[in-house]
């Protein structure tokens, strides 16, 4: 399986892009040429130079440094959101899939209600009630997504529970935990990874959109969506400000989407 993944060029390239981005974000302090929040009015809108490789913004802050530090809220927080969503969704999904009757029924009805709101509206609702801020945005994103994963994992648990090889290992008397760890979990994990990767792009866009609207990450913290929001205010005088953060989002989201497609091709070749 690993060899197959390494042989797939799309998977290889996109994984590298994502890993490099994560590394740059992790070592932002060492890599960034300048302090992302150091403003200097004399240097505002300066062009690309040795000191500021991508120039500066309306407050004279280094755009490259802001871009690098922006990886942390944009990508890291999206990853965090996704991990929490999957963890919560898996937990509830497995509980629901294994319990029969009233527990399962109640969980599924709650999922139905959660899914009966359009996701954007639900995020706005939670942020609207709890107040503006990135913590609330992440909380809201997890709240609207977990039900989706819970329902999916529940159906996978039920599906795999009825698959022939699991029935077979049941009949030859292998223990329940053995069946779960050896058969079910690997199967579920590969499907969840594909879907979660495809969803990552959505989460990045959704979180950066809320920051763009001013509901998420607050100034002066560098975040790609928030950077675009600042760029919007100076659009008429300095339109080039919007290029770097927009491209950054486009690249990282494309990388996740392509990786998701590539993983699906490798892990689940029949569904092409």
């Amino acid at each position: 399986m690993t060899r197959k993944l390494l042989r797939n060029k799309v998977v290889l390239v996109t994984t590298s892009i994502i890993l490099i981005t994560i590394l740059i974000g992790a070592f932002a302090h060492q890599i960034a040429p300048n302090d992302p929040n150091e403003a200097s009015i004399i240097n505002k809108y300066s062009r690309s130079s040795d000191e500021f490789p991508l120039g500066t913004d309306h407050l004279g802050r280094c755009i490259l440094s802001r871009l690098i530090y922006g990886i942390r809220p944009t990508v890291f927080l999206s990853l965090f959101t996704m991990l929490c969503t999957i963890a919560l969704g898996t937990l509830i999904g497995v509980i629901s899939g294994y319990s029969i009757g009233i527990v399962d029924e109640v969980i599924m009805r709650i999922c139905d209600i959660m899914l009966s709101f359009p996701s954007q509206v639900m995020i706005l609702a939670v942020v609207g009630m709890l107040g503006v801020g990135i913590n609330n945005v992440i909380f809201a994103s997890i709240m609207i997504k977990w039900a989706w994963y819970a329902r999916m994992i529940r159906s996978m648990v039920i599906k795999y529970n009825n698959k022939n090889y699991i029935l077979y290992s049941k009949t030859i008397g292998t223990s329940r935990s053995f069946i779960i760890t050896r058969h079910m979990i690997p199967n579920i994990i590969s499907e969840v990874i594909v879907l979660a990767t495809l969803d990552m792009g959505w989460v990045i866009i959704s979180i950066s959109t809320l920051s763009f609207l001013g509901l998420g990450v607050q100034a002066p913290t560098a975040e790609w969506g928030a950077m675009l929001s600042e760029a919007k205010n100076v659009l008429s005088t300095n339109p080039s400000q919007m290029l770097a953060p927009g491209l950054a989002i486009l690249i990282i989201v494309s990388a996740f989407n392509l990786l998701g497609d590539g993983l699906r091709d490798v892990l689940d070749p029949r569904e092409v």
Partner: protein
């Protein structure tokens, strides 16, 4: 058929109640006392007495469930209370003032989406793997990976600032609806094209298409009458839901283009902590979502003879 519609409506009612309950509960999740918030936004110093009076005015002193019921009764009569910011204005009035602009924007976008994506999807499916198809597939991929607010900025820059042919924002100037409507439709065009294209390609391998060719039908008839109709049948749910997504997607677009619709009203209410308006917005979208679901299901049921087999005899 009638039986199905009635059953389907009966299912929708508890869903709507659940949605209304969520909308009601959410406002009670506010970390602060709503009465205090209501006073603060009007710059009244919240002394204990005034808070008590406000609580009584807002009905916060009554038991939870009773409050829900009386709120629900008001809501059914379209009385959502007054805005916290402008005590003289009703929430209903604020929303009905903003709604027409949003509906105008969303319906124009929907028309653009349908007019653009259907021909492209059909063309891509018929000439699968042609240069055009591959080019469109690339565009679709970019379309799903690009944040639409960035597209909005790029379009404003190109058409308003560089070429100067369209206004940047507001809704007074002539042609001001074009940019927001186009931006809003772009995301959905890529979704529609991908959905219909893939579905049509899947349908084209079906045996009924082969037999239609055997019967000597024109390729155009086969594609439009048979393949397209069958594909629409299988993606009608997703397509119907996009109407709601289009409406909720206006939030971002309206803010960028300063379009005075409910999306902008919602965001400004969030910033102003104008909870009754947020609540009404959530409730409205939730109900709309359920209604759309209901209509889509009924249409789907009506169009597919396999689902109402028995009633022809």
């Amino acid at each position: 058929m009638t039986k199905y519609i009635i059953r389907r409506i009966l299912i929708a009612i508890p869903m709507m109640l659940a949605v209304s309950f969520i909308a009601f509960v959410l406002i009670n999740l506010i970390p602060a006392d709503p009465a205090e918030v209501a006073l603060r936004v009007n710059e009244i110093i919240p002394t204990d007495e005034v808070i008590e009076a406000m609580r009584e005015e807002l009905g916060l002193d009554k038991p939870y469930f009773q409050r829900y019921l009386s709120w629900l009764w008001d809501v059914i009569r379209l009385d959502f209370g007054n805005s916290y910011i402008n005590n003289t204005r009703t929430v209903y009035g604020e929303i009905t003032r903003a709604l027409p602009a949003t509906l105008r924007l969303a319906s124009l976008s929907l028309i653009i989406v349908i007019l653009v994506s259907f021909p492209i999807a059909i063309f891509c499916a018929v000439y699968k793997d042609s240069f055009f198809d591959r080019f469109i597939r690339l565009l679709i991929f970019v379309g799903t990976s690009i944040p639409n607010y960035w597209v909005a900025l790029l379009l404003i820059w190109l058409f308003s600032l560089k070429l100067g042919i369209l206004p940047t924002s507001g809704n007074e100037a002539k042609g001001s609806i074009i940019l927001p409507a186009v931006t809003l439709s772009l995301t959905y065009i890529s979704t529609y094209v991908r959905l219909i294209r893939n579905n049509m390609i899947e349908n084209m391998t079906e045996n009924y298409v082969f037999y239609a060719r055997v019967r000597g039908l024109k390729e155009r008839v086969i594609i439009i009458k048979h393949v397209l109709k069958n594909s629409l049948q299988s993606c009608i749910t997703a397509l119907g839901m996009s109407v709601v997504q289009l409406l909720s997607g206006t939030v971002v677009i309206e803010n960028i283009f300063s379009w005075p619709g409910i999306g902008r009203l919602c965001i400004s209410s969030i910033f102003n902590r104008d909870y009754p308006i947020i609540q009404a917005y959530i409730l409205m979208m939730g109900i709309l979502f359920i209604l759309c679901n209901l209509i889509v299901d009924i249409v789907h049921h009506k169009l597919d003879p396999r689902l109402h087999g028995g009633d022809i005899n």
